[in-house]
Point group: C2
Chain length 335, copies 2
DNA sequence: ATGAAAGCGCTAACAA
DNA sequence: TTGTTAGCGCTTTCAT
């Protein structure tokens, strides 16, 4: 394996100069740089990240912690982040928790990350106080996507507003009996979205003078299957809703499925709206509040890299815009 | 940052012994091992992967190269692989090509991989001869998922058989005018599946004494949108097919969408079958030939790690079974 | 069972 | 602009 020494010998220079030339640092004559580059190419030289990391303390690697890559939403975030990282020459170390509590424990507690990565990207997970403590002890930039944590660098949408937009759309159509499909609003595995979206739903209904009914708020676990189960429940109510606002498109898709099962026509008998603009949303003709998923991944990666290079960097809370996308699953209630 | 030296000093031993004790190597007294462990814990010692990598030449990291994480199929493979890697203490470096040719070029050509990972997992990509050449020069274990490449370690399903099963299902139902939705069967971006599935389709039709019609074979690009476009085309034919076999569930979903658009009823006027058993398949009530996606990721990771540890390891071609899953999108043709 | 010592391949501070 | 010289924090012979 050819090392920097081989290149140095080849161009008859010190390894220091070769290192500088290869990394594009200042203080190297143009001629030298070219000779070094040419030699490196000719000899097939590839730098050793381990050696560079050991000597410099920088790994040019970013850890991305994701709840579950198989969910389109998280995968899209990862993809956005990966693009930016790659462009800037950083590698992406993927930690997929996939619902395994021990995996989460290991990543955070046993400081797997120490000395291994330059920065950390946390996708749609709300770290516990203990985990936050460990993260800050890491002494490395951390950006969190989808959480509202003052003092930390975060990227998210305005969940309250997004939910309000969705609910208002239903209200504007004339619906008064509107159910909510959400998820757990507390617990370690929670993130900001569920509670903020629930609040947005409630506020809007109250603003419209509609009384809240506890039995119209169901837990759909943010999955298709959970949404289907919860919607089945809702549609079986004595006073069934004429519309369902699901806090995620996957739950909304589950609701559509439940409606079909029960012979409830959409949008004639039931309107359904989600949040996300999932890649499949268009194929279900689902009305939704779109959020820039891919872009959030990009912004988060950009932010965390900025923290690595800018000296006067301080954590920012970035909020990206959402947009109502009206498709075919919402309509006026039958009179 | 506490290093191995600090621990050595603390237990009044050499760093060599501490290193051995920490890694569970033989030749360390039980008492010493316990003292070392305790001290390491107390001092909050975390080993440096860079240093270990530099000294040992092993990074305990595996590169996973994936065409596009946002596609459920690939994400599920990644998740399967990640589980196994994590269990065994390996990290996963994700390279997402996402259709960016320069990304692919960079990963393979500029040997981003050299000195960085112990092994490589390639998901559903058929490396070009040039890329194969580079991979073998890596001198590291490589496992390829979804390709049929004798001499290399591969994990896949029998694509020919899967396609035959799907086609035969339609034939058995009485269909004679069966269209095929596939993808490019050549080019660098191709993998084994498209051509093998097309062949399985053709063989089965011929076996059933049904004449092939070129206009019934369409390119759906293995995406929902592509499938929809291609199916629209097929359904507009003068002699339109009574059934469509899509080589992937995503294309099948596109076909369902096209049928709905055109007022073609499924399964009354048109039967649709896919391959994969995509997570959404059940919500579309899609008949399909299921393949063990997650499991293929696990097997591939297990295989590549075995190569790392077993001395007498040689590349194996693993083929995992598929299974017909009949749901509601296939039925007898109307007479 | 343990230790001494020589690197692994690079970066960075200091000199020249 | 370039070179010299120490390491970075481990692992791994080779001794003992």
């Amino acid at each position: 394996m050819t090392s920097i020494k081989d290149v140095a010998r080849d161009v008859e220079m010190s390894t220091a100069t070769v290192s500088r030339a290869l990394r594009g640092l200042a203080g190297v004559s143009e001629e030298t740089r070219e000779r070094v580059m040419e030699s490196a190419r000719r000899l097939g030289y590839v730098p050793s990240p381990s050696a560079a990391g050991l000597a410099s303390g920088q790994t040019r690697t970013v850890a991305v912690i994701v709840p579950r890559v198989t969910q389109w939403f998280f995968a899209a975030l990862v993809q956005g982040a990966e693009e930016v990282l790659r462009e800037r020459g950083y590698d992406l170390l993927l930690y997929n928790l996939a619902g395994d509590p021990s995996a989460r424990h290991r990543v955070f507690e046993t400081s797997l990350l120490t000395k291994r990565v330059d920065a950390v990207l946390i996708l749609s997970l709300k770290p516990s106080p203990d985990e936050l403590e460990r993260l800050s002890r890491l002494g490395r930039p951390v950006t969190i996507i989808g959480a509202d944590m003052p003092g930390w660098a975060t990227v998210r949408i305005d969940d309250h507003e997004a939910a309000a937009t969705a609910t208002q759309h239903l209200v504007d159509l004339g619906h008064r009996c509107i159910a909510y499909l959400g998820g757990a609003t507390e617990g370690v595995l929670d993130f900001t979205a569920p509670s903020a979206r629930l609040a947005g739903y409630r506020c809007t209904l109250e603003g419209a003078g509609v009384a809240l009914r506890a039995e119209l708020e169901e837990d759909g676990e943010f999955t298709v299957a959970g949404g289907q189960r919860a919607a089945r429940q809702l549609l079986g109510l004595e006073v069934a809703p004429t519309a369902i606002f699901a806090a995620s498109d996957e739950m909304a898709i589950g609701a559509l499925r439940a409606a079909r099962e029960l012979g409830v026509r959409v949008p004639e008998d039931l309107s359904v709206i989600g949040i996300d603009d999932h890649e499949m949303a268009t194929y279900f003709d689902l009305t939704t509040v779109a959020q820039p998923v891919h872009e959030q991944g990009r912004v988060a990666a950009t932010q965390v890299l900025a923290a690595l290079t800018d000296d006067d960097w301080k954590p920012e809370q970035v909020i990206l815009p959402t947009q109502l996308v009206v498709r075919g699953t919402t309509a006026q209630p039958r009179t």
